[in-house]
Symmetry: C2
Subunit: 345 residues, 2 copies
Amino acid sequence: MADLNGFEHFAAEWLPRLEAEMQAVLALREPDVAQHYQMMHYHMGWADESFQPGLFDTGKRIRPLMCLMACAAVGGEPATALPAAAAVEILHNFSLIHDDIQDGDRTRRHRPTLWTLWGVPQAINVGDGMFALAYAALLRGKQRGVGDARLLAALERFTTCCAALTEGQHLDMGFETRESVSVAIYLRMIEGKTAALLAASLALGALLGGADKTTEDALYRFGRHIGLVFQIRDDILGIWGDPAVTGKAAGNDILRRKKSLPLLYALEDPRVGPLLHDRMGQAISPTDLPGLLDLLAQTSAQSYAEKQAAHHHQMGMAALAEALGPSAKGAPLELLAMGLLERQA
Amino acid sequence: MADLNGFEHFAAEWLPRLEAEMQAVLALREPDVAQHYQMMHYHMGWADESFQPGLFDTGKRIRPLMCLMACAAVGGEPATALPAAAAVEILHNFSLIHDDIQDGDRTRRHRPTLWTLWGVPQAINVGDGMFALAYAALLRGKQRGVGDARLLAALERFTTCCAALTEGQHLDMGFETRESVSVAIYLRMIEGKTAALLAASLALGALLGGADKTTEDALYRFGRHIGLVFQIRDDILGIWGDPAVTGKAAGNDILRRKKSLPLLYALEDPRVGPLLHDRMGQAISPTDLPGLLDLLAQTSAQSYAEKQAAHHHQMGMAALAEALGPSAKGAPLELLAMGLLERQA
């Protein structure tokens, strides 16, 4: 795809440097505590279960790429933002380790999760260690010539984001036991769980790249909006996505009873909601799916979700234009955002 | 005790202000996420299980008091160090939440632990939230007039300490499955688990109080040494403490098979070690205790531990004198340290 050249070129140049930066932060310490760090390396996709170096699925490193691109977009040298890029990716990975324990997930990226291999107590502690090292990563900004006031502002942003992540996680875990979840609370949850870190990644890149406060805030809003679109599109695809493209069963999120935006919206429908609530409370097999999808179709759940996504997409792009002016058009940042937002799977 | 007047006066003045500082940092947010913060309040001893405000055992707040006293001792206004004092105490409490999960402990300070009341997933997340808010606490130094460079140095110290805590915890958890634990690794463990945070508390207080680097480092060493003495004395009392004073059974740590310094030292004794190892591998009842204590007495375990404690005590007091000069004598900091070190329970 010729369109993506700018993005792919950027990623090819900076992803290896990002990995090197993170490897420097998560480097092995004395032999006595080597295993603590080796477990981090396993989780990051740098080592196998026996701690032999290898190349495994690392995830897409979307957040740090956004961070580095934001730095470049405001005229900064991306290397200056490597400490922040490493920090957001290490923080994201810490949160995945604890998520996997909290959700009881046994695999991630086609490998056993940390807790299944080394037990819950060690996995909690490895996550805590990576949380601390995310801060250590950001503090390396000093060595890249970031001024004290700017670095402190970055630490403030990062800390606010860390607290927001735990708020989002708090709400998400509560959904399992809550009798009913409102659309408003759901949006508050994805705000914390998905949007806050993407927004912070962009703001930190801009901040370390030397942007003024107005530009930094606009990029923060860009990140927040595309984070929300990303999650809402994920919810739409989870119900109406093409199984041939998504690789998941049709109506997958309905079968899994996932409390996602369209379903929660339909449950608030005064006409259809109560019936849908009853039906979702019973056992659901694939043969029930057409009936449930029909109930959803009797509400404006799909168009509501599409409209929410379109709204945040538009707001996000407006914030990007506000931040970068005409140069936003065709910038790697826009291309990456478009790729994220227009995905079908 | 007339001796302690200086210390008690200081604590009476500053403990309420410390609580107020921490309450400001851990203040309730919007109603949607209130419970996340209410669980923190429960753990801190500010609320009951129904989140009604109350006064519960909060622990002794030793670390933040040390931090504030270090600030005063170097000529600073203790209020300047309140952000650091709050940060170390919130960090300590975060680590207790995760510790309780990791050890499966159902009670702490005579109340049910967080995970027994609200489940492991929420308890992990409450800990993570407090970890983030410990940083938020420290960042409030800006509002107390701490300069940028000094605040960044404090954040570096704090981050190094956070990582060290997880290293200590890693080693401690490993002891349960390790066939043998050397004295060297044990000392490395208490270095991370106990000494690092006490040392950082003192260094941060000095740093925010305006101390020069030499004084700050000397107070760091003071904290490290007294942290080590504190733990080693705890180990000695756990075996040879007077039950009438400690409130625990004689030889309590032997009965619990606790891998503490005297026992590990005795296990390394070429003559007695192998036999002791066999005996510790079998069921232990109180009637076995005299025999086991006799085996310990055939080694120099007790005097070794006493000598280690005395060594670190001496080194700690030397570091304190180095930091404060003649004013160290009788300062609240010395009195608190003496109280900690000379305890019999």
